[in-house]
Symmetry: C2
Subunit: 375 residues, 2 copies
């Protein structure tokens, strides 16, 4: 019972976590520091500066929440939504549904604008729904991890012609791999995770808030119920006041800091390009095998590639064989797409041509053994 644990070496090509490069892992072996050690505070400052670069923002309030991406989603909604606020939620996948549900939990009257899973929401429909609503908060999923669809977020800001609003964008599966452009796209709040495009282990959620978002928080009639995710309290620790809030998960932040340094050394644009190239190589191989992608070419995520499961093929068996015979993890579909797609992550240091080639070869082998294509 107390003996050591020896996990196998997996090639993680699912929806995350992805494999983390040794340099980032080794950062967690650096000497631990107390949460108010002056040297640790420098590390926090560095994380903030590097995160701003990756989010493409000048937002002062940009830091990591001490929880996973879901904690980041909750931090945004718990702080921005007040009881009775009308919120327009764009829903075309599982994480859009979840964001709408969380907004409701936090007291919002949610107007759901729904569309088919795997297709982006038409911005003309978003405009119409926004115009008809009295919503002052709009939630949009940039990279829908359940479908592999990328929602154009560039046109969100045009909604301000109609009425001022706060735009909350989920960048969990895009940050560090796709351009997010927080400032350029006038996004007011965004949350992400560490284990996908950023190439760090799971456990933290990078977030960023615009001045407009902070104003909304400062003007609240009641403080948010959540103390752990109270952004104004957390900010007092990350900013010059250095007021104790909770014991910072130091080793996770070391890893994040190193992963961000890796990203900026590679260069954001080169990194986006690498993700695009490897995704396209994967898609070419998939189509050559006679398989189909779920999402249309121009709306595909480069990070999370969704393949339709051919008729007659047993989803779970194929994934189990990839795992057991090849040590390769790919993701299952879920919600409306359960049993219908595979989700293939090519993210962070996992987005390599060799991973693409290996997965294609292994998948071809397993599918043949399972009788595809039918001869």
């Amino acid at each position: 019972m107390t003996g050591s644990f020896h996990p196998p070496q997996r090639i993680l090509l699912g929806p995350g976590p992805s494999n983390v490069e040794p340099r980032v892992l080794e950062a967690m072996m650096k000497p631990m520091l107390g949460y108010l050690d002056p040297v640790y505070l420098q590390c926090m400052d560095k994380i903030q500066a590097l995160l701003r670069s990756v989010f493409e923002t000048d937002n002062r309030v940009t830091f990591s929440i001490s929880g996973t991406g879901g904690a980041g989603m909750e931090a945004c909604l718990a702080n921005l939504v007040e009881d009775g606020d009308e919120v327009l939620a764009c829903v075309n996948g599982f994480f859009g549904q979840r964001a709408a549900e969380l907004a409701e939990r936090w007291g919002a009257r949610v107007v759901r604008l729904e569309s088919e899973w795997g297709r982006p929401l038409d911005m003309q429909r978003v405009r119409e729904a926004f115009r008809k609503s009295s919503a002052r908060i709009v939630i949009m999923i940039h990279a829908e991890t359940s479908t592999g669809m990328r929602q154009p977020i560039e046109e969100l800001k045009a909604l301000r012609d109609i009425r001022d609003a706060i735009f909350v964008v989920d960048s969990v599966t895009s940050l560090g791999a796709h351009p997010v452009g927080i400032d350029r796209n006038e996004i007011d709040a965004s949350y992400s995770c560490t284990q996908k495009g950023l190439g760090a282990p799971p456990g933290l959620s990078p977030v960023t808030f615009s001045e407009r978002a902070l104003e909304k928080m400062r003007g609240r009639k009641q403080r948010p119920r959540s103390w752990y995710l109270d952004v104004q309290l957390i900010d007092k620790y990350w900013s010059s006041e250095r007021a104790y809030h909770h014991t910072s998960p130091a080793l996770m932040n070391y890893a994040l800091c190193e992963a961000l340094a890796v990203i900026l050394e590679e260069g954001l644009e080169k990194r986006w390009e690498r993700h695009r190239r490897n995704s396209e190589a994967f898609v070419a191989g998939i189509e050559e095998m006679g398989l189909e992608m779920l999402v249309e070419a121009q709306h595909r995520l480069w990070t999370l590639n969704t393949v339709r499961i051919p008729q007659g093929i047993d989803d779970a068996r194929v994934r189990a064989r990839l795992l057991n015979e090849h040590n390769i993890e790919i993701g299952a579909g879920f919600g409306a797409l359960k049993g219908k797609i595979w989700r293939v992550g090519l993210m962070g240091s996992g987005s390599t041509l060799n991973n693409v080639l290996l997965l294609l070869a292994a998948l071809r082998r397993v599918l043949r053994a399972e009788g595809f294509p039918a001869s």
Copy 2:
């Protein structure tokens, strides 16, 4: 900006994090697994079993929350408190205050039973306050990290003579170093952290819930607002249903698993005894130097030892010299005890005779240089 980060090697004798032994750190270098990998699920089962041993409980619902100790406190209160519930909060330190504040945030009418910081609450007073109130939830801090005081929790269950209630106990600074005895003491909910008595890095919060606590949750009129900390949803992932909730911070859980194995190999009783012995050695040295402890002998924590700062001595200067000249971190007082005490952590793998001897020698040297004792 993007270069590597090189923290100094500190001896962490503050309120946590403590130094983590290499075997536990190395566990984080093990191959990462996906959150539904069958091998990862085995690791989760093992964590649950080991945590039950350390909490001294048979509670099925015993797992790690993916956030720090503060997230564990919030998870307990967010799930157990419903709007208008009366809660009796025992407050004799900063963390008692915080728990009372969180209960209020989550909708409770809080009756605060306060007493002097650094002294335990008299159980007769607790009985009286409970009798006069209509509280069905009682919060007690077992190990008050702000004062170094240990509250006897053995008599809590006797309150059930008066009225049935749910007992929530903060074991952040006791678990793994002091007996907690969840089942023996009939505690219904408890939260802890990983970076103190358990000897793992900060980032997770072990929690445990009795059947009585779960019944209260299942009977709620409304689900808790918090989704990230919704214990019933998290339980669906940790138990046989394995329903996705959030991406588990795998490496943090590897470290926790290894730290728990280390604890049970040492043996719980031997480990408690080691903490007691090193604390007593520290106190003997402190008193020999002419300094005084804040807390009376029989109510002292072995993990967190609080020393009164002698008159005329500059708190911040002494701590800065220990840090800069000796690479030793000790903690400052805060709240009502700011500038009045030092908080010395001897926890997990940091509770060693050599750490005690080194700190005493370094403190003696620094205090002499600062003019204590006055000659």
